[in-house]
Every structure is written in structure tokens, then in C-alpha cells.
């Protein structure tokens, strides 16, 4: 009886495993790959010797060999990962910097020119106009429940009016209960609720912020955009006050020669509702392509607060009345700075950003 061709397998395996365990350098380990498990290893030689076995014995012997080789390969990989992470840690340790030791006076600081975002500076200009008119400025969250974004604004579930807003829904709660706010109007509800709870009515506020609509971006629209919303709840507020505020704002922001006018529209949260148009800022009312020769361009929506909204927040419409308005901050910037393509606002090209002061 001849000795099995695999009689040395146990020794060879143990030897390879020991060599792997002993390797301390990633480079050295990699160099030994061929002799330990690769094409110059004992396993390859043993594989060849299997040919001497009777065909019916080859299968079992081959499996034994493969199993041993797999164990060595696994050990090799594990050792390699360990050495690699040690190497990385060594590099990181060598690179370590204690930021507490930085002497600020010794840090070189080259003078470069900074530039604010066009949206942020437009928002600030708008805020300043409204603050001068007596408005407070309020913030609100970008993720809202359907109640604040829709239902409290008199847009119940499945109401066709919800189709006016292409909504991004968030995967929280029941389907369609959490949304990326489609307008800044939910902040109105938060403000009125807080004023009712705190007994601090009246409210005179504007609410700027980022909103989202599920709308493929093009030269005029972005899926994320910025709006500013205005809300007044006070005694004896009428549509005339709304029209007056829109007019005062228009002249203060766009210039004395720019007028505003209202035309009937529909928004579920205001009644009567209006779209407001301003004198075309390009042709100053003479008629041009931008305004389709009408001399007017649409800026935003507004109206008297709907009694259903007062009902949702618990304000007595016999005692209080109010109005709301809203329009796009980005759109104001587009009109004022003649931005041909709104997508430039989100591309963050330095050549675009550095044009603003």
C-alpha cells in the first residue's frame, strides 16, 4: 500500500497558517501569497499529485485539499485586513494633529473675496422691507404633517385642490401624512396656534423659507425653492389693507414706478383670493416678451383668511379678520437679476456665485 499523496497536507497547512500569523508587514505578506496559497504553494503541487489516485478516490481527496486551502486563504485574508488596518492606523497616527495646539496667529490666511448666496441676500432684502413695514419674521420647519401643510389650510384629504401642489411624501406614519412642505403657509398655522395658546393675538408676520414641489427642474422652476409668506390677523382688517400692503411692498422693493394689481384667483385657505401682478420690471409696463406684451407679470397669491382656517386654529372670525400673501423669493431674484436659467442657483458654479455682493 502506497502512502496517500495527501499525507503531508496537515503539515503544509499548519506551516502556511503559522507563516501567515507571523507576517508583520503588509508588503511581506503580499509577497508570500504565491508560495503560501498561490500557484507556487504546496496546495498546487498536491493537487497535481491527486492524478495518481484511483478515479473513485479523487473526489474525496480533492475536497479535503480544497477545504484546507480555503482555510489558509481565509487566514491570509483576515491577516491581510488586520495588517492593512494597522498600516492605516500607523499612517493616521503619523498624521495626527492636535487642533488645540494650533496657534491661530501663525496660521496663514490669504485674502479672498466671499459672496453671499443670491437667495439669502434677496431674502434679507425682502425681510428688511417687511420689518420696516412692521412685520415680524418667523421660521418654520421644512418637513410638515399633512394637517399643517393641507388640512388646517382647508385642503382636506383627496380634495382636488391638493392636486395644485405636486407633493413629495415622506416615508413616516401612514401614507401621505408627512410631506416636504409645498409652501410656507403651514407656518401661518403654527403662528396662529401659538398666538391663540399664548393669548398674543394679533399677528403681523412674514415667514420666509425653503419649500419643495415634485416638479422636474427647468429654466423657471426648481424642485426646491424659497417663498415668503405674510400673515396679518388683527381687528378690522379688510381686503383694502391687503391691497395696500401689497402695493406698499411692491413700491418699496421694486421701485416707485412699479405698481401692483389684483385679480380673482382660488386658494383654499383664503376667500376672497387674488393673484397679484406687478408692473413688468423689464419693460416697466410698456409690453415685452417676458410679460406677453401685457405690461404685467404675476408675482404671487394672496387673500383674506378663510373662515375655515380660523376655525382650524380656533380664532373667532367675528372678532378677528386677516389676510395672507405669498410669493417666490427665487422668482424675485430671477426678475431682479435677470437670471436666464434658475438651475444656475443650485449648480454652485464658482463663476456664478462670485457675481453677487
Amino acid at each position: 500500500m502506497t502512502s496517500s499523496p495527501l499525507s503531508t497536507l496537515g503539515d503544509e497547512t499548519a506551516r502556511a497558517l503559522a507563516a501567515i500569523e507571523a507576517a508583520d508587514e503588509l508588503g511581506a505578506l503580499d509577497e508570500s501569497h504565491a508560495t503560501l496559497v498561490g500557484r507556487r504553494s504546496a496546495f498546487v503541487a498536491l493537487q497535481r499529485s491527486l492524478g495518481t489516485l484511483a478515479p473513485e478516490e479523487r473526489g474525496a481527496a480533492g475536497a479535503t485539499l480544497q477545504e484546507a486551502r480555503r482555510r489558509v486563504e481565509e487566514a491570509f485574508a483576515a491577516r491581510r485586513a488586520l495588517l492593512e488596518s494597522r498600516e492605516r492606523q500607523r499612517r493616521l497616527d503619523a498624521d495626527r494633529l492636535d487642533l488645540g495646539d494650533v496657534v491661530v496667529a501663525q496660521v496663514p490666511w490669504r485674502l479672498t473675496l466671499g459672496h453671499p448666496s443670491l437667495v439669502a441676500s434677496t431674502q434679507r432684502e425682502l425681510e428688511d422691507v417687511f420689518v420696516a413695514m412692521g412685520f415680524k419674521v418667523a421660521d418654520g420647519p421644512e418637513v410638515e404633517s399633512d394637517w399643517y401643510n393641507f388640512e388646517a389650510l382647508n385642503i382636506p384629504p383627496a380634495h382636488p385642490a391638493r392636486g395644485m401642489w405636486d407633493t413629495f411624501y415622506v416615508d413616516l406614519g401612514e401614507p401621505e401624512t408627512v410631506v416636504l412642505r409645498t409652501h410656507t403657509s403651514p407656518t401661518q398655522i403654527h403662528l396662529m396656534e401659538a398666538a391663540v395658546a399664548g393669548g398674543t393675538l394679533p399677528v403681523h408676520s412674514v415667514m420666509p423659507g425653503r419649500c419643495y414641489r415634485r416638479d422636474t427642474p427647468d429654466a423657471r422652476h426648481l424642485a426646491a425653492f424659497h417663498q415668503v409668506e405674510g400673515l396679518v390677523v388683527d381687528r378690522d382688517i379688510t381686503f383694502a389693507d391687503l391691497a395696500g400692503v401689497i402695493e406698499t411692498f411692491t413700491k418699496a422693493y421694486f421701485g416707485e414706478d412699479i405698481d401692483a394689481r389684483l385679480r380673482p384667483a382660488y386658494f383654499p385657505f383664503t376667500e376672497p383670493s387674488a393673484e397679484f401682478e406687478i408692473t413688468c420690471t423689464i419693460c416697466r409696463g410698456a409690453g415685452c416678451r417676458t410679460c406677453s406684451q401685457t405690461g404685467w407679470i404675476e408675482l404671487g397669491g394672496c387673500g383674506m383668511l378663510d373662515p375655515a382656517v380660523f376655525d382650524a386654529v380656533g380664532i373667532d372670525p367675528e372678532e378677528w379678520s386677516g389676510f395672507a400673501f405669498g410669493f417666490g423669493i427665487d422668482r424675485c431674484a430671477q426678475m431682479r437679476y435677470q437670471i436666464a436659467d434658475m438651475r444656475a442657483l443650485i449648480e454652485n458654479d464658482v463663476r456664478f456665485l462670485e457675481q453677487f455682493s
Partner: protein, 821 residues
């Protein structure tokens, strides 16, 4: 909605110019989005008879056609093949300008001259048929007749109007005409209507019923006999084409025409295919299906994904309870009108708007009918619309019979709203006085019923105005109608004033301060996307719960960002490729933390009626700056922070280095900004993790990018970001003594802690400033401080200074630092 001016003029006299009409419509809230001129450019086109067709040698696509257009033979080259000698076709002579501005010239082709152009219907903008020439053999007009006369086309103007959601009454020609008639104070004419013309009662041959009265407000079924299906009269076809609809057959066209004209959708069924000649409205049952006219099999009564959508579908069934159609949305194929139809059951109904809206959304099926039903169709319009349908169909079916007493079943329809207008209500809402007579005139012209009472006007909305609500809301609805017809542009303006001053909040002021400081220091402000990919999210927050959008525009825009860093590095990388990477790039904005990971998730109300408590993501406002100029690194971020800290007046914030301070930051070159008094972390400083740079800005591998990432929520909170006292200390008048002290400190001793220990060592210490660090020292590194000493009471003597020095050394020793030899 496309509205023909000629059609409007059938209802009301309109002598105004186009510009005046556009103004009036805009001012009525029927916004004109476009104006189209029909028949313009057809003035020179005439009817021509094809006398002869000849091949042109060497040309297989075009032929020479000899036509007679009244003035003898004319040779014209033509590429169409759908005609034979003897046919009559439209011909545009040389010099004619077709719709769209195409001018016909005399042209040479393959050695022959073409003296005009033979036209297809689409070239004349009469239909979208461009398969071949328009064939005029059925038109009774001799050669040379102007095409406009031959086809009885009157030049027209079509307004494209945008009709608002609260104007169910305005979704029709008659509705628009009613607004204009009311505005111009003119009468509104009624259209020609038919009456039933046989004694046979409808109930003797057909049946109608409503099983679910909540879903169907009214169902009428009329029986029409002796129907001959064929083409519509030209005027009907033209009206439909002008409104953007395709003529199909006289029956279907009459249905569509009535819908456009009066706003009532009707549905004609082939009576032979309606079992029992019975139509009933009921809720679909689970498991029922329907093949709609568009060939799609619809599973009915399945709850939808939409909020509160329980899956109610209203269907029309026949006498054997088989589903014939999705009520108010689309019919089924089985009972469709065909050329063989001779008897029609005409359904004219009104359905619950919300049911239609939900079904239409759930089945993603919108039709002209569903658009109208979901806004609310006047339940009292049904039989008037049928009378109009019959009048139109009779033009092509001379023996048409409309059986007596159409079947008419009522379900639940809301009562018309009644609203009380008290004296002063209009003025209190509008700030403009509108005389009571004017109020009554306006409302009456809009079909509201107005009763004058001693102390009020009692206003009842017409059944066409389902949008008018009750109570205070209804009063606002009615006042809007008064304002609309009176004219918004005529309403008063007044600028209100109030006592409370305008102001921005402390948080908003902080934002302004941060932005101003950063811009002054050279930062460009970016705006990077809120929504990104899972892969990008996993770069900094591997495997963590994320806030996901269920219906993103693209798969890689579905996750809300949990850091500003990723977007900034990406944006910077694109600039680097344009060789504009030598910048500081920053952003101020929110990141979103999944409620499962938030310490205190934001709770709010939601769900139908706002009755469910929801957990929303925590929105954390961050300020992130990428310092990417050539020589920037973590130290640059420290310098940037030192300016911000000073500008915000922060009392004592330590730059505390640690390994792995934050995801996305270099593991051994980062620090937390710790407020010493509160222990709060205000943000992190450091460098971008090299592998992140490799993934997001591959062309920058190996480059150090400094980063400062501040938590604006913490910065805005004075209990966590402690401010220096606003009280100003007047400096001592006595001389200052200064000394430089260099210590060897082991690595675990923070330079700031040592500075703090020195500052507290003696009451004479006025300031301690680190001015040099030297790493090559055994036992740690050398930290050199400039210490100044002063007393508020006297000039220091040597003994004071040596005592202070000893105290300073002791304090350092207590921390493990020794004076460097």
C-alpha cells in the same frame, strides 16, 4: 379650457375688442393664457377640381396635378396619393399665406413649374389629419369657391382660459358667457332645446336606480330611438376641433358638445347592449373589474394609498348587475356606441365630487367628464343638457324620438347654501362700500336668489355653485363673487398700521451675523441639494435610519441629507474640475435626523382631521464651511473658528482634539468645539476624511480640505453657547508685567486646559496667550504662553511677580506640565 368667441356670442352680445375682452376675462378671474385665431390664413384658399394626374419623369414621390380652380387649368406639383381625377381638394394659390405664416411661391421642380399648393387638413389647421390631401367631394361648392365659404367656417378667436377650482359653473361656454353678461350688464340667451316627442313613457321600456344615494346625487336616463350613427354636421365638428377634441360620431360628438357648452357630461349607451335597458348607480364591490374604453382592465373597490382613501368606486350597472362603466369618469367597452347602434340610453347624472376625485386619482384616470364631476356638476342641469343633446342630434337623425318622462332618480344632493349678508358685511370684508342695489344686481346676474329683508339680504346659491359654503365661510364665498364682478381693480387700498414694531428674531440675527462674517472672511455661499442618494448617505452615516421620500423624481434624490458636507465636497469637486477649486465654500441649512435616532423626536398632529400624533424628523440647522484653498487644512478651520467665536462673543469654547470626532471627518485631525461652562458641543473642526474626498471629488485625492461644521441650534441657545458678559471691564491703570513661559506638556494635556489653569493660578493674571508650539520635545511638546500680570490696586513689585510665577508653575505642574529647561 378653450373657449370660442363665436360660441360665446351665441349666448351674449359682445362688441368689445379682443383686448377689452381679455382684460374683462382676466379681471373676472378667468385668466387668458393664450389667444388663437381660427380661419386666419385660409382666406385665399379655394376649392379646386383635379382634372388630370401625370407622372413626372424621374420622380417617384411627386406627381404633376392639373386642377381647375375656376379660372381654367393650373399645374401643381403634389406629393400626396390619396386622390383621383375628378376629386375636389383645397388649393392655395401663389401668394397665399397659410396658417403659421407659410407663403406659397411659384416653384420649379424636376423641370416642371408648380403654381400653388394642394393642402392637407393639417396644413390648413382644420384637423390633425396629415395623411393626404383634404378631400372635399362631400362639400357642395363649385370650383373656385373660397374654402371658408365651402366649409362654412367663420373666422373665430379661441381663448385658452384657466378656470379656478372653485368655479364649477365656469367649466362651460354658458358659464363663461354668464360671467361676461353679468360684467357687461347684458342678457344671457338660452340655447335651442328639444322636448320629448313621443307619448311612450320611458319607464315602459327602461329603468333607472340609485343604490348608494351618497355617491350619486341624481341619475336621469333618456331613451332615444331611430338613431342613425354617422358623422356630425360640420358646425359641430368645427366646434369640437376648436375646443381641442376630435369628432367621432354624431352621438358621441353631441355628448361632447353639450358638455363643453353647458358643463354637463352625459354618457350614451347602445341600448341593445344594456341588459334590461336598466342603468343603476352603486358602489363597486370588492373583486369586480371593468375594461374601460381605453382598453385597460380596472380592479374596482380596492383601497388606495391616498390618505383616507377606502377604495369607494361609483359604478353604473345594467339590469343584470354587470358593471358598465366607472361613473362620471369613463365608460366600459361593452356598451359603447357603434355604427350599428339604433337606440341610445343617455345617462345625464351628477355624482358626489369627492368620490369621483378619489376614484380618478386612484385609477390614474382623468377625463373631461371626471374633471367636471370632481369640481361639482349642477344636479339640476341634467335634463336641460339632454334637451340640448337631442336638439343637436336631431340635425342628423331626422326621425329621432325622445321618449316621454325620462327616468329621473335623486340621491343625496347638498341643499343649496343660504347665506345672510348683514348690513356692513361687504364693507367689513372688502373695505369698499358697494351699494346694496349693485350687490343684488351682481348676485342675481350670477343666478343667486336674493331676498331683501329688513335687516339683511338672504342669499341662496344656485345649484350650479356647489363651491359656496354655509355660515361665515359661505359669506366669504358670496362676498368674493360680489368683489369679482364689481372688479378687484376698483376696490379701495389702504396701508394698515399697528403698534407692534417689526423685528427679526435672535436666531435670524445670528444667521445674518454668521453669513456676514463668513463672506467677509472669503466664503462663497452655496445651495446644495436637500435630497440625495442612499450611497451618499452611507458615506457618512452607513446603515443608519434615514428620512426617505416615497415619490422622488429620481432614485438618487430620495434621501434627506444628514450632513451638509457631502453636498459641499461634491459641489467643490465640480469646481475643481473647472480649475476653480481654490475657494472657501459654505452653506447654512437644515439636516434631517430620522425620529428613531433623535433624542427627542418632533411630535405633531397629522392624519385625517389632525387626530393622529406623528413623529417627524428633527431638523438641525448647520453651518458647514469647506476650506479648500491650496494651503488650507485643519489649522485653517481653527483660524476661521477663532474669528467666528470672537464675532459671536462666546465666553470660553475649547477646541478639543479627539480621534473620530464626526462622520466624514479625518479620524486623527479633528476637534470638537466644547463650551466649557455648559459642556455643549457647538460643532466640529478638522479635515475631510480622505476616502470621502476620493469618492466625491476624485480629482482631489491626497488634497487636504479643512472643514468647520457648526450646530446653529446650539449656537442660538445661550444656555448652551455661553456668551461673554456684556459688562465691559475697564483695564487697570497700573503697569503690566509680562512673561513668556514654555512648558513641556504630555500629549493628553490640552493646550487650552493648561491656559485655563494658568489663567486661574493667580488673581494677578490678566491674560494667557499660546504663541508657540514645538513638537520635537521628549515627553510631549513644548507649549509657550505669553502671560501678562497686572493689579487693579498698585504697581506690581518683584515679590508679586515671583509669587505669581511660582503659582503659575505649580498650576502647570498640577496638570503634569513642567517648565521647559
Amino acid at each position: 379650457m378653450k373657449v370660442s368667441l363665436n360660441w360665446l356670442r351665441e349666448f351674449v352680445d359682445l362688441g368689445e375688442s379682443l383686448e377689452e375682452l381679455r382684460e374683462a376675462l382676466d379681471d373676472l378671474g378667468l385668466v387668458v393664457e393664450g389667444i388663437e385665431h381660427v380661419g386666419e390664413g385660409l382666406e385665399d384658399v379655394v376649392v379646386a377640381r383635379v382634372q388630370e394626374i401625370r407622372a413626372i419623369p424621374g420622380a417617384d414621390r411627386i406627381r404633376l396635378v392639373v386642377v381647375d380652380a375656376g379660372d381654367g387649368p393650373l399645374e401643381i406639383v403634389c406629393g400626396a396619393n390619396n386622390f383621383v381625377e375628378g376629386d375636389r381638394v383645397p388649393m392655395a394659390p401663389v401668394g397665399a399665406v397659410l396658417p403659421g405664416g407659410f407663403e406659397i411661391g411659384r416653384r420649379q421642380m424636376r423641370g416642371v413649374t408648380s403654381n400653388g399648393m394642394l393642402c392637407s387638413a393639417s396644413e390648413l389647421r382644420l384637423s390633425d389629419d396629415h395623411a393626404g390631401l383634404m378631400i372635399l367631394n362631400d362639400v357642395d361648392a363649385p370650383e373656385g369657391t373660397a374654402l371658408l365659404d365651402a366649409l362654412a367656417i367663420t373666422p373665430d378667436v379661441v381663448f385658452d382660459l384657466s378656470v379656478e377650482g372653485n368655479r364649477p359653473d365656469a367649466w362651460s361656454i354658458e358659464g363663461v358667457a354668464r360671467d361676461l353678461a353679468a360684467r357687461f350688464e347684458r342678457p344671457l340667451r338660452a340655447p335651442r332645446l328639444a322636448t320629448t316627442n313621443t307619448a311612450t313613457p320611458s319607464a315602459s321600456v327602461a329603468a333607472a336606480g340609485i343604490e348608494d344615494p351618497a355617491l350619486c346625487e341624481r341619475l336621469t336616463v333618456s331613451v332615444l330611438r331611430n338613431v342613425i350613427v354617422g358623422p356630425s354636421p360640420t358646425w359641430v365638428a368645427q366646434r369640437l376641433v376648436g375646443a381641442g377634441m376630435r369628432p367621432i360620431s354624431n352621438v358621441v360628438d353631441a355628448s361632447n358638445l353639450v358638455m363643453l357648452e353647458l358643463g354637463q357630461p352625459t354618457h350614451p349607451y347602445d341600448a341593445a347592449h344594456v341588459a334590461g335597458r336598466a342603468l343603476r348607480a352603486r358602489a363597486a364591490r370588492s373583486g369586480e373589474t371593468l375594461v374601460t374604453l381605453d382598453g385597460v382592465t380596472r380592479e374596482l373597490a380596492r383601497a388606495g394609498r391616498g390618505l383616507g382613501d377606502t377604495g369607494v368606486d361609483c359604478v353604473i350597472v345594467d339590469g343584470e348587475d354587470r358593471v358598465l362603466g366607472l361613473a362620471g369618469i369613463m365608460g366600459g367597452a361593452a356598451s359603447e356606441i357603434s355604427d350599428a347602434t339604433t337606440e341610445v340610453l343617455l345617462e345625464a347624472a351628477a355624482f358626489d365630487p369627492m368620490t369621483i376625485a378619489r376614484s380618478s386619482k386612484r385609477h390614474a384616470l382623468r377625463s373631461e367628464a371626471s374633471n367636471r364631476f370632481e369640481r361639482g356638476v349642477d344636479p339640476n342641469l341634467a335634463l336641460r343638457a339632454v334637451a340640448r343633446f337631442v336638439a343637436i342630434l336631431s340635425e342628423t337623425c331626422s326621425d329621432l324620438e325622445w321618449l316621454a318622462d325620462p327616468l329621473d332618480v335623486r340621491g343625496q344632493a347638498p341643499e343649496p347654501s343660504r347665506v345672510t349678508l348683514r348690513p356692513g358685511d361687504v364693507e367689513r370684508a372688502l373695505g369698499t362700500v358697494i351699494a346694496e342695489d349693485e350687490v343684488v344686481r351682481i348676485l342675481t346676474a350670477l343666478n343667486f336668489r336674493v331676498e331683501r329683508r329688513e335687516e339683511s339680504l338672504e342669499v341662496t346659491a344656485p345649484s350650479s355653485r356647489g363651491d359656496v359654503r354655509r355660515g361665515a365661510a359661505g359669506r366669504a364665498d358670496v362676498i368674493e363673487e360680489i368683489a369679482r364682478l364689481h372688479g378687484y381693480r376698483r376696490l379701495a387700498r389702504r396701508t394698515p398700521t399697528w403698534a407692534a414694531p417689526g423685528a427679526i428674531t435672535a436666531r435670524q440675527n445670528l444667521r445674518r451675523r454668521l453669513r456676514d462674517t463668513l463672506v467677509d472672511l472669503g466664503v462663497l455661499e452655496a445651495w446644495t441639494p436637500t435630497l440625495g442618494s442612499d450611497e451618499d448617505f452611507d458615506l457618512t452615516h452607513p446603515g443608519l435610519a434615514r428620512v426617505r421620500v416615497t415619490n422622488p423624481l429620481a432614485a438618487d434624490e430620495s434621501v434627506m441629507r444628514a450632513t451638509l458636507l457631502t453636498g459641499l465636497v461634491r459641489a467643490w469637486g465640480r469646481n475643481l474640475e473647472r480649475h476653480r477649486g481654490d475657494v472657501l465654500l459654505g452653506e447654512l441649512g437644515a439636516i434631517f435626523i430620522h425620529p428613531d435616532l433623535a433624542e427627542t423626536p418632533r411630535r405633531t398632529r397629522g392624519g385625517a382631521g389632525g387626530t393622529v400624533e406623528l413623529e417627524l424628523p428633527v431638523e438641525n440647522e448647520r453651518l458647514c464651511v469647506l476650506l479648500a484653498r491650496e494651503d488650507d487644512d485643519a489649522a485653517s478651520a481653527v483660524a476661521l473658528w477663532s474669528v467666528i467665536s470672537a464675532r459671536l462673543g462666546l465666553a470660553d469654547v475649547v477646541v478639543r482634539s479627539n480621534d473620530n470626532v464626526a462622520a466624514g471627518l479625518h479620524p486623527t485631525r479633528g476637534a470638537r468645539l466644547v463650551d466649557r461652562a455648559s459642556g455643549a458641543v457647538l460643532g466640529v473642526l478638522g479635515e475631510v476624511e480622505p476616502s470621502l474626498v476620493e469618492r466625491l471629488a476624485p480629482s482631489a485625492v491626497g488634497r487636504r480640505l479643512g472643514v468647520m461644521d457648526l450646530d446653529v441650534d446650539v449656537l442660538a441657545d445661550p444656555s448652551r453657547a455661553t456668551r461673554r458678559s456684556t459688562n465691559v471691564a475697564v483695564p487697570s491703570r497700573y503697569p503690566t508685567a509680562s512673561m513668556d513661559l514654555a512648558f513641556v506638556a504630555p500629549p493628553q494635556v490640552h493646550a487650552a486646559d493648561l491656559a485655563a489653569a494658568l489663567a486661574g493660578a493667580s488673581e494677578l493674571v490678566e491674560s494667557v496667550t499660546l504663541f508657540d508650539v514645538y513638537a520635537g520635545v521628549e515627553g510631549g511638546r513644548s507649549l509657550a504662553y505669553a502671560v501678562s500680570l497686572v493689579s487693579n490696586e498698585r504697581t506690581l513689585v518683584d515679590a508679586d511677580i515671583s509669587a505669581a510665577r511660582a503659582a503659575l508653575l505649580k498650576a502647570a505642574n498640577d496638570l503634569g506640565a513642567t517648565l521647559r529647561a
